[in-house]
């Protein structure tokens, strides 16, 4: 692992960390973000943001979703601090505060 990444800015191009996978839940249709031993059920707006993290800048993502840049930045920073999002061509960071897009955690405390 490299050191902590620099802060995300509106020009950053976020992408999902290697260990994180997005999928649609078969039973509920909700979007899940899965990573080692854990998972998050994403709100529709959180899911929409992550599905656009493919090399586009945060500015572009916010524009395409009609969302305030500050909201998108805040959400992605929270995920970046948990090591779930990195910057394109940059190593992701790990761990941090909770994220506003998550509603509940379906897979905590695996033995």
């Amino acid at each position: 692992m490299t050191g902590a990444a620099t802060a995300l800015s509106p020009g950053s191009r976020p992408q999902l960390a290697r260990k994180a996978r997005l999928r649609t839940d078969r039973l509920t249709g909700e979007t899940l973000l899965l990573y080692p031993e854990h998972g998050l059920v994403l709100s529709p707006s959180a899911a929409a943001i992550l599905r656009l993290c493919d090399g586009r800048s945060i500015d572009t993502i916010a524009r395409e979703l009609g969302a305030p840049v500050s909201d998108v930045l805040e959400f992605l920073t929270a995920l970046r601090d948990r090591g779930l999002v990195g910057e394109r061509d940059a190593a992701p960071a790990e761990q941090g505060p909770g994220d506003p897009g998550a509603q509940r955690d379906p897979g905590q405390e695996a033995p």
């Binding site: 692992m1 490299t2 050191g3 902590a4 990444a5 290697r18 260990k19 996978r21 999928r23 839940d25 078969r26 039973l27 899940l32 899965l34 990573y35 080692p36 031993e37 998972g39 601090d81 090591g83 960071a93 790990e94 761990q95 941090g96 379906p106 897979g107 905590q108 405390e109 695996a110 033995p111």
Partner: protein
Amino acid sequence: MSSRPYVLIAELTYRCPLRCAYCSNPVEVADRAALPGADWQRVLGEASDLGVVQVHFTGGEPLLRDDLEALVARASELELYSNLITSGLPLTRERLGRLQAAGLCALQLSFQAARAGSSAAIAGVDAFLHKRQVADWALALALPLTVNVVLHRQNLDEVGAIIALAEELGAERLELANTQYLGWAYQNRAALMPSLAQLDAARAVVAAARERLRGRMEILFVLPDYHADRPRTCMTGWGERYIVVTPDGRAMPCHAAHILPLTFPDLRSQSLAAAWHDSDAFRRYRGTEFLGEPCRSCDRREADHGGCRCQAFLLTGDATAADPVCELAPHHDQVVAARAAAAVTAPPLTLRRLRVAR
């Protein structure tokens, strides 16, 4: 109450090249044939249909199954997030590459201690250097790596060095779980139980490392429930999120549940859905209805469900009893006595061996 499982714990075999004295596997295993690969493939599909989204391939040592790649590939096809929980033995770089190509999402590699000598003492096998090599391969393959170390009296004082090792290996996550006294760990309880002073010192080291490593490596520190005042919620609730499938194809709500006087559904003859929804074994301790006093009238019963069913049974002979780690439990004196015994000299370890019931 949740009506679906999220996690399948696939115990592919009880065999293991290591002989760790804290192993949570049964002290004696049933004399039954291993579940064939075709059945494991079906179980993965049924798990996905039930709502499972994560699968942990574990054991014993899951690498001892030759069809592990095929099972990982099936999980990948089903979009299940697959974790391989392994000792790293026996493994080559080529096979790790094949597992990754099959869709393996993450590797969880066990270490026993920070150094070769102390590792061999607890595992009965000198595997330390090989494990380091496996971690190097994971890093080279860009396979997300968790290092896990079970903590106890004999390695708690090395926790700072263990953290340094995980950092050096490039782990994204370090899981430091204190021993749960079930299975072989219960047999070795007196040899493994740490003193409170050891735990407090380790806790301080972990807290400082967490601060220092914030943004680089996540450190999970699971306190031993013998040293907590209140019990943990067993498996986040009996039959609520997890399904364990044993090497011989039985479905259980928890990996230690084989000691309980229950009949666990045989997945050779019934579906995972039937096991989850309808079996007595999964329904028996769901929710909190089964609890007697002092749990029934306790304001924490919905939070902790009275603790661990297996521990309650192991220590009191009654699986519906309050988990004795709770200071309100009638049998709490047993836990207090076990803690107090940790202040005196520990007996030697009994290393695990595979014992089949006759």
